[in-house]
Every structure is written in structure tokens, then in C-alpha cells.
Subunit: 243 residues, 2 copies
Amino acid sequence: MTVKPTLHTCLSPALLHLYDVSSSIVIIIDVFRATSTIAAALYNGAKSVIPVDSVPKAIEIAKNIDGIAAGERDGKVADGLQYGNSPLVYSKDFIDGKTLVLTTTNGTRLLQMALDKNAQTIIAGSFPNISAVCDFLINEKKNVVLGCAGWKDRFNLEDTLFAGAVIHRIKKYFQIHCDSSVMADALYTKHQKNLLAFAPQLTHYHRLVERFGLIDDIKFCLDNDVANVLPVYEDGKLIVRNT
Amino acid sequence: MTVKPTLHTCLSPALLHLYDVSSSIVIIIDVFRATSTIAAALYNGAKSVIPVDSVPKAIEIAKNIDGIAAGERDGKVADGLQYGNSPLVYSKDFIDGKTLVLTTTNGTRLLQMALDKNAQTIIAGSFPNISAVCDFLINEKKNVVLGCAGWKDRFNLEDTLFAGAVIHRIKKYFQIHCDSSVMADALYTKHQKNLLAFAPQLTHYHRLVERFGLIDDIKFCLDNDVANVLPVYEDGKLIVRNT
């Protein structure tokens, strides 16, 4: 009998040290909104997305390669940048054939942490590209760590819901001895029929919708397969891997 | 209008730094089994429970005060000790009038961390004393951090279920802007009618039941108010506060 690969869910970047990242595929999950935006930009033809950890670095790199510098801090377009972290901005008209240099509060940081810990493979996951992510994980047959970016190291519901959605689809292919994964699966199962109705209970919903009116962003970020590509991190950038 | 105090749930000791412990009552939650054992011992007449971080310290202190040294490592009676961390051991016959010096894997450590961060008040919570805990929190009208001890810094389901059970009872008295608390409440609500039926999905269940046959411990630890006292930490020990 073949031994199934393992699957774990890491609920916060502050817990990443507990998982064996170096022998795993790590899925970076930042549902509102970094990984949804990465999927949208690549789906709409961006050549690549370069994640960076600071605004000055985003501006400098974008200038050198004639790319688009973008990013957010605390839910808003970061000071000094023209474009933020809304997936709806990156339409085909705007982003096709261009490179996006993106800096965000949580997702970029978790990706850097996974890199520092020598993750075997890093991909970006979100509801807009959930099928591409699940197909890849099933086909690779390797250990998986679902990495929730959270909010400044705090647990958040939306990243956990996405982890749960992935587990719900692929659990029969993996060994899961992980309470976080059981919880994520249970939470997703409870709310899968109407994620949008559950959304007002999320702290991040209040930040995005009540403060900034971004309800259309929320809808996009909770919609399955509307930007169904597989973003893989290679040589400093996220590019589409054709599966 | 009076402003309600806040309530947060901390899912792992590794996340405790994210919460303002110094202005809060911190509930130490280690359902399997430290805080259930503390409630049982005090309910059955122990003068106090002294939590310590090592086996040699437990032996030394117990010797000096003619107390009972006890503790576990990895679910078993710790090497060098005669008594472990099973709440069923601490019957009235055995523990009445005595002092228990207890060292455990996760609960003791979280308590020490809360102390180091100058928690305003520290109490021990578990299903066996849930009503005493909830009554105290409602009456005090102070900010609350529900601190899950977890398993070696990993998230665990049983401590989260207890946090959810507390939230379920007292949420109308608190402001809750905390995704961990929303999740814990949802998880508890889903399983409240039969916690024991959910238990086989817990990683810790396998450790305790399949490896050590401790199903009676599990039953006790998931039972409401069977040792309904309020253990408060004062001057190095947990004692019963009469409410």
C-alpha cells in the first residue's frame, strides 16, 4: 500500500516553524486579497508577479523593468503607490503582458518566510484559483502545508475557510493528523453553501467593506475559479505553470 | 451606554504576544488534562495546586511542604514521579487537605508565560468547572483572554471547543472583534450536543485513548460542572476563590 503524503494547516505565520516546510509544497493563502489579486493578474495575462516586502523596493524594481508597482498597507493603497491590492483593478486591458510588482501586509511576508525555510515548492492559493491548486496538489503527491497569512500574525477566518475548502476537496489523497485541518474542514463545510452570508462575521470584512466599501472585492475573492491559473514561485517571481 | 469589555481567544501559546494580557483576566485552558485535573483536585479538597515547570522542581517543592508531586510528559506519568495528570486520581480520599505540585507539558508553560506578561488575573478553566469560570467572567466585567494551551504550540481542538463553550455562554456581555472567537463559538455550537462523539477526530484523543486507554479521563474532561470550583492563581499557587 502506498503511504499517502501528509497535509497540515498552519493558521498563522507565527506558527510556521512548527511545520516541516522544507519537504513540502507550501500554499500561500491570503484570500483578502493578495493571493486573489495574484491569481487575477496572472489570469489576465500578467507576465509575472514579483512579491516584495517594501514600497520603496516595489517602486525601484518596477522602474527598472518597466513594471507596475502596487501594494497595500492596512487595507489601503500604500502611500507612494498608485495601485493597490484590489483584484478588480488588474483587468486584461490593464495588465496583459506586464509585470506586477506587489507588496502587501501579510501574504508577501509569509511567502518570504516560506522561502527562508527552504520550502520545496511555493504556490499561491485563493478561491479564484482553487481548482488549479487542488489539481496540482493531487497530481504532485507530495506533503502539503496550507499556510494562512492571517492578519499581522492573528488567525483569520477567510484564509482558514480557503484551507478548509481545499481540504474538503482533496482530503482522501492525504494523511491528515492535524487539528487545524479538521477545524478548517468543519468550518468550511458549515458555510460552503453561502460564504458571502458568513462574511460579515469576519473582522477583515469590516475593515474592507465598512471602511473602504470594497464589497465587490469580497465577492470576487470568495468566488471559485474566476481566475483559475496556478501561480508558482520561481526565481523571485510568481508565474503561471501550465498544468 | 457602558462600554463592554473585550474578549479574545488566543489559539496557541506562540500567539500570546499578540494580546494585551496585562489588562486582562487570562483563562488558562488545557482540557486534556491539566486544567481539568486542577479543578478536580481543588474540588476534592486540595489546599492548593502549585504548578511548576520541571519534574525535579515538583519533587523538591513537594518534599519541602509534604505535598504530592505529580505530572506528565507526552501524555504519560513523568519519569521520576508516582502520580500523573489524570483527574480521576485526585479523589477526595486521596487529595483532601493536601497540596498538589503539578508539572505538565502545555498548561503549566502557558500559565508561566501569562505570569511573565503580567496578566492581571489568571484562572484555570475546563469543562468540569465551566460555570464557575463563566460566572466569574460575567461578574468581573473586565477584558478577557481565553488562552488555549494547545499541544507544543500547535492549535488543538479540545481547548478551542472549551473557549467556544465559554463564548457561547457569555458573549452578550463582551465586545468580540476576534476571528478566533467567532471560529471557536461556531465549532462548539456545531458539536455541543455530543462532544464525546466528536472526540475521535482530535489528535489528542488518539494519544490518550489509543495509546494509553484513557477514555474515562476523556469523559470526565468533557463533562460540565463535575468539579465546579474557581481556581485562581495567587502567590505561586492555584487556590479556590469562593464566588
